[in-house]
């Protein structure tokens, strides 16, 4: 992503720490995601005042408050729409969007699909715990069939959404999956996602230690297999990515499924932005242009 570097000051890890400590449950997978995002920004040395972290509502959506960047804690499901507006008003900013599976795939599902097809240049990290946590444990769009929750006490009868296949089908130009228990790998994916010119989707297994007793660290650990370990895997091959996205069970792939850089970003495709970010422009329409608008009506 395009970023403005502020050279004089070396960014430290401490610079990225927010005003308050996270109030997530001890052991929550989101701690690992927060640490990886901060590490990635530190390693990339992106000035924190040029970063906007935007979230919806939910446990993981408290994320912006734990960062020391510009932040927006918006409405449930709406983070991507807000983020699109931010990016289009000032495309020099690095935009990170964070949230959960209910926020992104449930109430925000419509914006999820459309933001991908528009190829808005931002990194969208979903902390996917397959449960609604902040509302104390209901079925989410990624809960498996049969999972018992407070809202489906006799077991979920609805098929879960596959976020990776959905992202590929919707035209996301960068699609990856991480695991909160694999810090180094996750940090690397975040860095790639930030650098990718276009919409980067990163689904992260981020276990809920309080409400999801099915998909725990212990459950994920033996199953996750890094795509990067398979030398034959080609992340520019969309069909291969689609095939990999369907794997679930004893072996679950994590890593970069897909990336293409030949699609224009939304802000890159719009000539109105050729002269630079809108926010830095004089808001006034030149008088002779305004006069021509009136003349059209005479």
């Amino acid at each position: 992503m395009a970023t403005t570097l502020e050279p004089p000051k070396q960014l430290t890890m401490a610079d990225l720490k927010g005003k308050v400590d996270p109030d997530w449950c001890p052991g929550c997978g989101d701690f690992g995601v927060l640490a990886a995002v901060q590490k990635a920004l530190f390693e990339l040395q992106i000035s924190n005042h040029d970063v906007v972290t935007i979230s919806g509502i939910g446990c993981s959506s408290n994320f912006p408050g734990y960062m020391n960047t510009y932040g927006m804690h918006t409405l449930h499901g709406r983070a991507l729409a807000v983020a699109t507006g931010v990016k289009l008003a000032n495309h020099a900013l690095t935009v990170l969007v964070t949230g959960g599976d209910g926020d992104g795939f449930g109430i925000g599902g419509n914006h999820f699909v459309h933001t991908m097809r528009r190829n808005v240049d931002l990194l969208y990290i979903v902390m996917d715990n397959q449960i609604y946590g902040l509302t104390t444990g209901q079925t989410s769009p990624t809960s498996r069939i049969g999972m018992k929750t407070k809202s489906m006490p006799f077991g979920n009868i609805e098929a879960p959404v596959n976020p990776i296949s959905l992202a590929l089908a919707a035209g996301a130009s960068f699609v990856a999956r991480g695991f909160s228990g694999e810090q180094k790998h996750l940090t690397e994916l975040i860095k790639q996602g930030i650098k990718h010119p276009g919409f980067s989707f990163l689904d992260v297994f981020s276990p809920c230690v309080t409400y999801n007793h099915d998909n725990t660290y212990q459950w994920f650990r033996p199953r996750v297999k890094k795509l990067e370990d398979d030398r034959a895997y080609d992340p520019t091959d969309w069909m291969a990515a689609m095939e990999k996205s369907l794997l679930w069970g004893e072996e679950i792939p994590i890593g970069k499924f897909f990336e293409r850089t030949d699609v224009p970003t939304l802000h890159g495709a719009e000539p109105v932005l050729n002269e630079g970010p809108l926010v830095h422009r004089d808001p006034r329409v030149p008088l002779e242009v305004a006069r021509s608008f009136v003349e059209e009506l005479m």
């Binding site: 927006m72 729409a81 008003a89 809108l278």
Partner: protein
């Protein structure tokens, strides 16, 4: 009485009602005449019945009036629906080969055109329309050259042959009428003035452009879509990012995102789309991010009558989103005001960092009005409020790192707003209740003292907004027999009703409300203290404004005039209702719309 002349053109959608309308409108405005146009139509692309009224005259024409002087029915249906409404001195021009006239009132001139004798109808499908325009202009005493100029412009794109052919057809109609029909009693006047013809949607879009809007988002919805169309067509010239979004939820959230990043952002919709936006309005208020939303009202509830007008969304605006928060709501009074209101609204919402709603309606959005170009201020004042940007010294404030408080408690309730990208002012804005530094107090740190302080900080802006907005004024003679109270788009028709009442010996004055929130209730009570008989006129079923005024001031008027059939008021509706109410016959009049369109 003002001298006006009104043309009614009726036909099925797709029969070409719009083109003759455009041609007449151009000729009138070039003659230096004012005009007001209103198109009654249905939610159909082909078929149905469309009826366009264009009323013109040397003075301002504020509404469609009561009388049609020239009727041009393009099919039998239009003839059947409208001929009976013509009165002495009017004329009806029609295709004698396809349309049979009914019985016309005394003094109405029937003008049949032998269309196939005057034009080659096998080649020119709209020959009857062009012949009728020519005939009509001849009877109005307009020289042929004016028509020829407009026809030439209209068909230029289709090539010289089309220009020549249509000019010949227009000429044939013109000459036939000169030889066979009686001209109108008064020829159409002419002045040296030149006007721009605007729809309310065009006016609001242009108002946005000159106000410095840099982001416009929308989802198509009648009758607001015209704003999107203008914005999209002029985006590159005006330097505006225009996006068509997946739904109105996305629309308002995107606009708020853009506004947060530091540009003026606007969106427009109608009642149904606004319903989807309401949670976003709350976010605008809670995060203190200024945004302007235009609601072009149409007849509801639900999908309702998408192509018909109503003033039925007031309570939706008053109650939009949950919780208490400062907001501004204003209803433009006419199409020129649609233009003026947008820069004014932006200055207010940016000063007070809150959402602003422009409550327009189909009558203004899709109606057309002549406006003196000088009345369109293309360089209006722009007040962006207390903003911290890179340009205005944000960098100098870098030392304030850790001490900048986005929601600092101030006397005015307004806290300086740093936009992303400014060093040293990092903060998180939140829809959760938060402390002065943006940190949530809604989770483990909930604190009743802080919550109360933040609530009071935001609500203190209400007093500031009220002081920044002028109270309404009474128009017309003092000590009148009757005071008509209206809001928004009914200004023009009430004005004319007052003139007619005064001519009929009933002195009438008018109180038209533009700013709905803040309302200036005390000032309104003071204005009405001397009124002898007050009547609230509005385009809805339940008297939404009457209920609002009562809730704010306990004021109860003497009577009500309401209309909720989808069509706007005509002056005589109001005049007759006032007379029956002054005679003590009723307190609530619901005028019948005689024209079935």
């Amino acid at each position: 009485m003002k001298q006006t002349f009104a043309i009614g053109i009726g036909g099925a959608a797709g029969q070409g009602v719009a083109t003759p309308g455009d041609i007449f409108a151009k000729i009138f405005s070039r003659r230096g005449l004012h005009l007001n146009a209103y198109n009654a139509y249905q939610s159909i692309i082909r078929g149905g019945h469309t009826f366009l009224t264009i009323r013109t005259g040397p003075e301002k024409v504020t509404n469609m009036g009561d009388r049609i002087d020239l009727l041009i029915p393009l099919n039998q249906d239009a003839m059947n629906r409208h001929l009976g409404l013509l009165s002495d001195g009017a004329a009806c021009i029609y295709n004698a080969e396809t349309i049979k006239p009914g019985t016309a009132a005394h003094g109405v001139q029937l003008c049949p055109l032998p269309v196939s004798k005057l034009a080659d109808i096998s080649r020119n499908k709209v020959a009857q329309n062009t012949l009728a325009i020519g005939a009509g202009l001849s009877m109005m005493g307009v020289g042929f050259q004016a028509l020829s100029d407009v026809v030439t412009e209209q068909f230029k794109k289709k090539g010289e042959a089309a220009v020549a052919e249509n000019n010949n057809v227009a000429r044939a109609g013109y000459d036939y009428a000169t030889a066979n029909f009686k001209p109108f009693a008064k020829p159409l006047p002419m002045t040296e003035n030149r006007y721009a013809i605007l729809s309310g949607n065009t006016a609001m879009a242009m108002g946005g452009a000159v106000a410095g809007v840099k982001f416009y988002s929308a989802y198509p919805m009648s009758p607001s879509t015209g704003v999107l169309h203008w914005m999209a067509a002029h985006a590159r010239k005006a330097g505006i990012m225009v996006r068509q979004v997946e739904d109105e939820i996305g629309v308002v959230n995107m606009a708020i995102g853009a506004a947060h990043a530091g540009v003026r952002a606007m969106c427009a919709t109608s009642g149904g789309g606004f319903a989807l936006m309401s949670e976003g309005l709350g976010m605008s208020a809670m995060t203190e991010t200024p945004v302007v939303v235009i609601d072009c009202q149409r007849a509801g509830p639900s999908t309702g009558v998408p192509t018909k007008t109503e003033q039925g969304d007031l309570w939706q605006m008053l109650g939009a989103a949950f919780g208490d928060y400062p907001r501004v709501i204003a209803a433009p009074l006419d199409i020129g005001d649609c233009f003026r209101m947008i820069p004014e609204m932006f200055n207010l919402v940016e000063r007070f960092q809150c959402p602003g709603i422009v409550l327009c309606d189909l009558l203004l959005s899709e109606g057309r009005l002549s406006v003196e170009p000088k009345e369109l201020d293309l360089n209006p004042p722009i007040d962006r409020g207390e903003m911290i940007t890179r340009a205005n010294g944000g960098r100098a404030g870098a030392s304030s790192n850790g001490t900048y408080q986005r929601y600092r408690i101030t006397e005015s309730g307004v806290s300086p707003r740093a936009i992303p990208g400014v060093p040293g002012h990092m903060h998180t804005v939140a829809t959760d209740e938060h402390d002065e530094d943006g940190v949530l107090i809604s989770d483990e740190f909930t604190n009743p003292t802080k919550r109360r302080a933040m609530m009071e900080k935001r609500m203190r802006k209400v007093a500031g907004i009220e002081a920044a907005v002028p109270p309404p004024a009474l128009r017309g003679p003092g000590n009148a027999d009757v005071t008509l109270i209206g809001w928004g788009s009914t200004k023009g028709v009430i004005e004319e009703a007052c003139e007619i009442l005064n001519d009929h010996g009933i002195s009438a004055n008018q109180l038209q409300i533009r700013w709905l929130v803040p309302l200036h209730g005390e000032a309104i009570l003071e204005l009405l203290r001397g009124s002898r008989h007050t009547i609230i006129v509005e385009n809805n079923y339940s008297g939404q404004f009457a209920r609002y005024l009562r809730s704010e001031t306990s004021y109860v008027p003497n009577g009500y005039i309401r209309k909720y059939d989808g069509e706007p008021f005509m002056p005589h509706h109001i005049v007759e209702a006032v007379k029956e109410q002054l005679a003590g016959k009723t307190k609530l009049s619901v005028p019948m719309h005689e024209i079935v369109v």
